[in-house]
């Protein structure tokens, strides 16, 4: 028995394993890159101090600062959210409405990749942000009953993100009619309550799981909205060193990395065979344990590396671990691309079909209701190349960011020595990612 929507309703198709040759290529390339990076990368921090440069084109300025346009986009976001929520309550199969495709493919995977390319578009679209604005939960006009406790940091977002990935990957709930609808309403209630308790902005940057997660991915992009709201450009990845090292940030990143790893693991024939004969309850238990175990394993590997690095510079490891956490974000993106690239392009087509009949009522709004999924839109070979390229590039991004942070914090020789352990951890993540991709 299969568990989870990805394995069943929307899924049921898995990529072919990456051939051994490409696996070896990816792993060796990651190793070469790591050692070469130590030798040749810049001796002064370069990404840390970079400030985005605004694009001063007049038309772009008027587009970006148009309040009307801003609200049109927000209204569109709210409409899509409303339709999706409504559709998620329809007691029909997972591919009969737009809801599961919208949530698990277009939003969770598609938007994640979009963020990394175009910057934080979610900030302009987020229906929860819009709700907070409509309810006028903004200080100082609105006086929240309490101030957000600093020590809590991003922990609420990390916990809620775990809730989402558990729902998606381990629970039997996506199979249940209406469960997705109930989950969306519950999450919305939590978010509105959080905004009411602490103010809109405070909750969005600490407790709104998707906002925090997508916000991190958006920092990979060369595009950003600067303080004046103008569109600005910056070197790729240079947004990440500006992430504030807050409690819970590392936990959120580790949840993101571990959950994608587990999803890959749970699609290997090894896992499928091992869990094939379990009862549903046992399957859910196994998937929950697998998900938690993978997340903890990622945390252990990273923490272990940071303990070693901290020993080198005689610092305590935890603050150091938080200060390097942003260097894992490119690897998070790499895992998302590698695991979900073909899923987005193939199963994502179900959304093209369902957009004409979002509630599963037999409509044909845009004439695409008869669209049949084209399985051959990406070949197996293309998928393999994209997967290996993503993993290797993610590794390079991580190494570069870690190097930049290390030389910003320490003198050159200590900086070099702190990096060995972290490099080893990154090579391990990369090799594991490749191993899972080739182990189907």
């Amino acid at each position: 028995m299969t568990v989870g929507l990805l394995a069943h309703g929307l899924g049921g198709r898995v990529d072919l394993p990456v051939p051994r040759g490409l696996f070896v290529f990816g792993a060796v390339t990651a190793l070469i890159v790591s050692f070469v990076a130590l030798a040749v990368l810049w001796p002064e921090p370069r990404l840390e101090k970079r400030r985005p440069r605004p694009i001063r084109a007049a038309w772009l300025r008027s587009v970006m600062s148009s309040a009307v346009l801003g609200w049109v986009v927000r209204a569109a976001g709210l409409v899509v959210f409303g339709v999706t929520t409504l559709a998620a309550f329809r007691p029909v199969g997972p591919t009969d409405t737009i809801a599961p495709v919208m949530v698990f493919i277009w939003f969770w995977v598609g938007l994640a990749i979009l963020q990394a390319v175009f910057g934080n578009v979610w900030a302009a679209l987020s229906p929860w942000d819009t709700l907070g604005r409509l309810l006028q939960l903004d200080p100082p006009a609105y006086r929240p009953p309490r101030t957000y406790p600093k020590a809590l940091g991003r922990w609420p977002a990390a916990v809620l993100l775990f809730g989402f990935v558990w729902f998606e990957l381990a629970s039997p709930l996506p199979e249940e009619p209406r469960a997705l609808g109930i989950a969306i309403v519950a999450y919305t209630a939590i978010t509105v309550a959080g905004m009411a308790a602490f103010g809109r902005a405070a909750w969005l940057e600490n407790g709104e799981a998707f906002g925090v997660y997508f916000g991190l991915l958006g920092r990979i992009s060369p595009l950003v909205r600067d303080d004046e709201g103008l569109l600005a450009i910056r070197p790729v990845l240079s947004g990440l060193p500006h992430v504030e090292p807050r409690p819970g940030l590392l936990a959120l990143i580790v949840v993101a990395l571990g959950s994608t790893t587990f999803d890959g693991l749970s699609r290997t024939t090894w896992w499928l065979d091992a869990t094939a004969s379990l009862t549903q309850g046992a399957t859910v238990a196994a998937a929950t344990a697998g998900l938690l175990g993978t997340i903890l394993a990622v945390a252990a590997v990273y923490s272990g590396a940071m303990v070693v690095a901290a020993g080198v510079v005689e610092a305590s490891w935890h603050p150091l671990a938080v200060r390097f956490a942003h260097s894992l974000v490119p690897i998070v993106l790499a895992y998302v691309v590698a695991h979900y690239f073909s899923f987005l392009l193939i199963e994502g087509q179900i959304g093209l079909n369902r957009i004409s009949d979002p509630l599963g009522l037999g409509w044909n709004l845009f004439g695409t209701a008869g669209w049949r999924v084209n399985l051959t839109i990406v070949s197996a070979t293309t998928t393999w190349y994209v997967q290996v390229a993503a993993i290797v590039l993610g590794h390079i991004g991580g190494v570069v960011l870690a190097h930049d942070r290390a030389i910003a914090l320490f003198d050159r020789s200590r900086a070099m020595r702190t990096q060995y352990a972290l490099l080893a951890a990154m090579v391990l993540f990369t090799a594991t990612g490749l191993l899972i991709l080739s182990g189907g």
């Binding site: 299969t2 499928l272 399985l375």
Partner: protein, 154 residues
């Protein structure tokens, strides 16, 4: 390290990576065509007639130059699946899946999204050309029971 040495190291490592890729890419070296897969004929399941009402279809005789049809026969009894957990076919091959079951359900080939009803005494037969590569689950839909995985390889 001097800038010149730095550039030399960079160029050398890029060259090493390129060479590595040329050596290790799939189909690198001597393989000519895209759709060669020598190991597959052994995967062809044999069609043994188990009696009972025969399904409505037999291997299509009319198609042009006698295409090979990979036949996969599965039997479900008391919730147990009689068959291998995975069958492999090369891309482009015609596949014919026949499922006998002692329960009424629906056989679903995921991805290709093909379905056929099955009931005691009435086999489900699904025949199609496996045009897309990937690993596809074939399930008893209502029971949520995995029958086997169809591995379509380029």
């Amino acid at each position: 390290m001097k800038p010149s040495a730095r550039i030399a190291v960079l160029v050398a490592s890029v060259a090493a990576i390129v060479v590595l890729f040329l050596l290790l890419q799939p189909g690198g070296g001597d393989e000519p065509g895209p759709s060669r897969s020598p190991s597959t004929p052994t995967e062809t399941a044999t069609a043994t007639d188990t009696g009972g009402p025969s399904p409505t279809r037999s291997a299509a005789p009319s198609a042009a130059p006698t295409p090979d049809v990979v036949e996969i026969e599965i039997e479900v009894e008391d919730g147990r699946v009689d068959g291998r957990s995975e069958y492999a076919v090369p891309v482009g091959e015609r596949v014919r899946i026949e499922v006998q079951a002692d329960v009424a359900d629906e056989v679903h080939v995921h991805g290709y999204d093909l379905m056929a009803d099955v009931s005691p005494g009435r086999a489900a037969v699904i025949a199609f050309r496996a045009d897309a590569a990937g690993v596809f689950e074939v399930e008893l839909e209502d029971a949520g029971k995995l029958l086997f995985r169809l591995r379509v390889t380029p």
